[in-house]
Amino acid sequence: MTRWRQYQSTVLIYAILLLVLSGMVVPLVWTLLTSFKYNVDVTLGWIPPRWTTDNYTGVFRAFSFLRYYANSLFIATAVTVVQVATSALAAYAFARLQFRGRDVLFLGYLSTMMIPADVLMIPQFVLMKKIPEWLNAVLATDFFSGFLYLKSHYIGHPVGLDSFFALIAPGCFSAYGTFMLRQFLLGISREIEEAALIDGCSAWGVFWHVVVPLAKPALGALAIFTFLGRWRAFLWPLIMTDSDSMMVLPVGLAKLSDLYVNDYGLICAGSVLMLVPMIAVFVFFQRWFISGIQLGAVKG
């Protein structure tokens, strides 16, 4: 009887899991299959009646796909590396170092999470517009409003609007990342750090040789969240970039949609191509990804 009950519950669990799984997989399969259809065949069932790869070549024709890909990859990687570094340092300071006003500062930093990003959009835009003007005026130069080229490829202004600075700098500091890592660091035994200090380690040495290795799961999780967030970011790059050469993949994907008429095959092909690195990141780092989810669940 018990075994029969066990069997029943296992079947039930698998049935629920299959249902949930199909809810996630079915749209992906539909997207993949639609990417091989002509637009006029999109509503003709799941299997394309006429297979075509035109949509994939169409994506490459519609915009500089490889350039957008490179931009997205560079921005997501740069933001991830810098944000993880700054968040780890700030988290260590807020968790372990003793200084006046630490908790007030931490609360102040946390409160920035409460401000909706949309509210900050225009002030940040104005700031990005003004930065090169201010720098030019202070340093008596016109360097900061000039154009940069890597060989023959335009890579934006040195700072300000339509620059990698605008796309990377605001993402380098994260209250969420700091909070998440601080909570993790609070869980690390102080005795290990004290032992290192007794052995002659400096505060930096403790951070680098003790805290960072112990915090690897949390750092990995933050890196994944940050990378995926930046890879998918749409509004900020849309607002900040002017030139085609500086745009990123989600903006390029949005260009494939017209205002009212859509070529679904083309959009699906673009989506599939955009998905590939995200799947790769997940497959390679899924251990940290899952531990990151658990971290948020138990430490929050």
Binding site: V40, F125, L238, S257
Partner: protein, 429 residues
Amino acid sequence: MPSFVRLGIVAALAAGALWAVLSIHWYPAEEVLTMWVYGSPQEAELYRKVAAEYRQQHPEVRLRLEVVPGRSVVQKLLTGMDAGHAPDICVLHWRQMPQVASTGQLLPLDDLVRRDQIATGDYYPVGLQAYTYHGTLYGIPVKGSTITCFYNKDLFDRYGISYPTDDWTLDDLLAKAKALTIDEDQDGLPDIYGCTPYDIASYVWSMGGDFLRQENGRYVSNLDDPRVAQAVQFYVNLYFKHKVSPPRPGVRSDNAMSTFTFEAGRIAIGIMGPWMLPTFQLLDRFEWDAALFPQGPAGRQTRYASVGFTIWKGTREPEVAWDVLKHMVSAEATTKMAKLGSDLPPQRSVARNTYPRAATPYEEEVFVRSMDYNVRLFPQELWWEDLYRRMLDELDAALTGRESVAEALAEAHQVTNTYLQRMYAEEIP
């Protein structure tokens, strides 16, 4: 990871970074004229070509064209305008116009049009009206079209139904739709539906009604007009009483997963517009053709849609921007745009010379003739889109069978008047 491998990676990264830094060149900033466009990839390519022609003719003008996502263009544009950094020239859909024009950030074009004697008489009047906000012209259309029908000739032939003619009526539409709603496998469910009716506005207008009327210079709801009730009842009956249209979740929303589509051969009459032509040109599963929208008691009154060029008021080079705009909407440019086959040119002369195009199996001239009837616009007001959405949300109750048409219209009437009263009290522009 062995330390020599780690060292190798660091060295490679450092070398790459050094190479990148040494390869960077700096050039001084220069004044450029920026133009934003959007559309299908084919349209974007065409804009690029037309802009390249301008550059060739005017090498002294540094014109930069950027393709931006159409659905987010207003948000990007308004943020830039607020901060004093926006494109000199920008493409806008006519329904995006009020939101941008109401900010006062678009350059009025009336004087420039008069000064340069632009042949406004050659334009479809509705095209210029679409870019007129509170009496001032802010844009010139580059393409436009109105609502027409596509019909599946094979289905008409198979079931012995006569094709739609220029004088067909809404009653004819219903009769043909009934005759072409077919349960082929006799399982009690239709396999082919007679029609998809598209936007409700053309029905309301063709029945002689309207959504709003003016009293003492202010808009009030006109949803208590019996002709509106007649139109909405006709529209709802297509779904509920006669069941000649496939079920739909709401007036504003189509069933995205429906397989009852014209291109699948499961809809006999698809009411749409020429913007579907690029898609339907690959349709070789059955013979099809185009027809005018059916006439109602008040004639044939259909909704217009267009895309046009506007100029930012803050441009440093208004004259050059105007010159570029004229080039982008010139007869040569709109002819090329028309040849893509998705919309009509905004000038009558170009429309008549371009259509019908050679080697199209369908009667393309229908799209030109459709512009000779009463082609209309919604009110060009900032608040219209929001109000219209609320109106249609109320009408959903009738379309989904939760309320009768009379009840849903009474609700919509009240919501509309409350909205308008509050709007006038708050003096929203």
